[in-house]
């Protein structure tokens, strides 16, 4: 089955922390003020990408 995981475009992130606040899996944290996703925790729910005000997070297919 194809899985989708959140991935951050670091160039777009403005470090508001919205994604960290709403991630139900605690899969995102800010490192040096940029959002980072831990893929093993991500369930691909899209909550972070929909919340992001600048579209810095998208869901990518992984095998």
């Amino acid at each position: 089955m194809v899985k989708r995981k959140a991935r951050v475009n670091e160039k777009l992130c403005l470090s508001c922390g919205g994604c960290v606040s709403v991630c139900p899996q605690d899969a995102i944290k800010l490192i040096n003020l940029i959002a980072h996703v831990t893929p093993s925790k991500c369930i691909g729910c899209k909550i972070c990408s929909n919340t992001c005000p600048v579209a810095a997070i998208s869901l990518k297919e992984v095998k």
Partner: protein, 398 residues
Amino acid sequence: MECDVVVIGGGPAGSVTARFASEAGANVIMVDRRPEIGIPVLCGEGISQRIDNWGMLEGTDWIASKMDGAKIFSPDDTMVKLSKEMAGNETGYVVYRDRFDKELARQAGKAGAKLLLRSEATGLMKKGGKLTGIKVSQDGETFAIDADVIVAADGVESRVAQWAGMETKLKTHDLETCFQYTLADVDYESDYCEFYLGKNRAPGGYIWSFPKGNGMFNVGLGILASLSTPGMAKNLIEKFIDNHPIYRKGTPIRVLSGAVPVAKPVETVTDNLLLVGDAARHADPITGGGLTTSLEGGKIAGEVIGHAVDTQTFDKGTLLDYETRWKEAFGQKLLRNYVVKEIMLDFEDKTLNMLADSLKDYKFEEFSTLSLVKALVLKHPTLLVKLKPLMKLSEKQD
């Protein structure tokens, strides 16, 4: 390192807590992961002039301008005006948040707190189930700070609260996601903050414009995260500015994003640990404003911590005094405004237009959300019937 109190996060709530705990005699360390206090700014920069009464900030270089009132525009652009002339009392400031935060941090340091920059909390330390301090990473080195009290002032995304097992995870229904432009050389004289409502403009939120003086304006928007799609906040504010006859001619000199809790009050205390500021969800669920509540809450936290250090008791029961006192100061108001937020989210644009039309000539008692809510309850008792039980309880807190 060792201290009585370690504060994680050097924003307004953390700095004020650090200051008042220090003034009460506690030995305080405040850590912040950033290289510079106040940067990046993640805020609309509006605050009530009530802070003048609290004497927390010296000087005036953190003040950008004074506001004389508010204009609220319904979806069909019917205007409701709350002005100082009608109110005869204080309104608000637009501030430079970077300077504002630095002034509060300076006051914390002056009171005796020690500040560590570029210092990120990476975890809590426990002994026999009891919290004993935090682990900190600074310039690639990791060390421990032993403390009797840990203050989570680490903002909307508080990881410290999560580590302590406290229930603060936000639903998307309780978070506003924000984007703002600061525009320079805008050909418009105004002492009013402006708010624009409407499902097409800002679903579950609003657009704001705060005059910063000298032709500068903060023009931003917040939308409810549960109604947002990727990049929607940025796209909607750009659409608004591009279509505005005046703002579109301004020069963008800063962009910023933000995330604001618009949640019900939460539990803010456990053994050896308490939450302040956005981490404690101390922001108004209607406006998203959190500066005054964070300052008030931080002062209470600092005083309660001072007492705890005096008596060397750091259990939940002792620290609960903080929660009791912030609930007395502004807890009912936050709860009431959460209920108002829930009611307003159900309003169609045509209802907002009708409400604005009924209030457009109303003489408001004062410049506050309370006076707006009161006017609505008076004019439309059936629409806001759910609010009645909360009104009396919360009124003295505004």
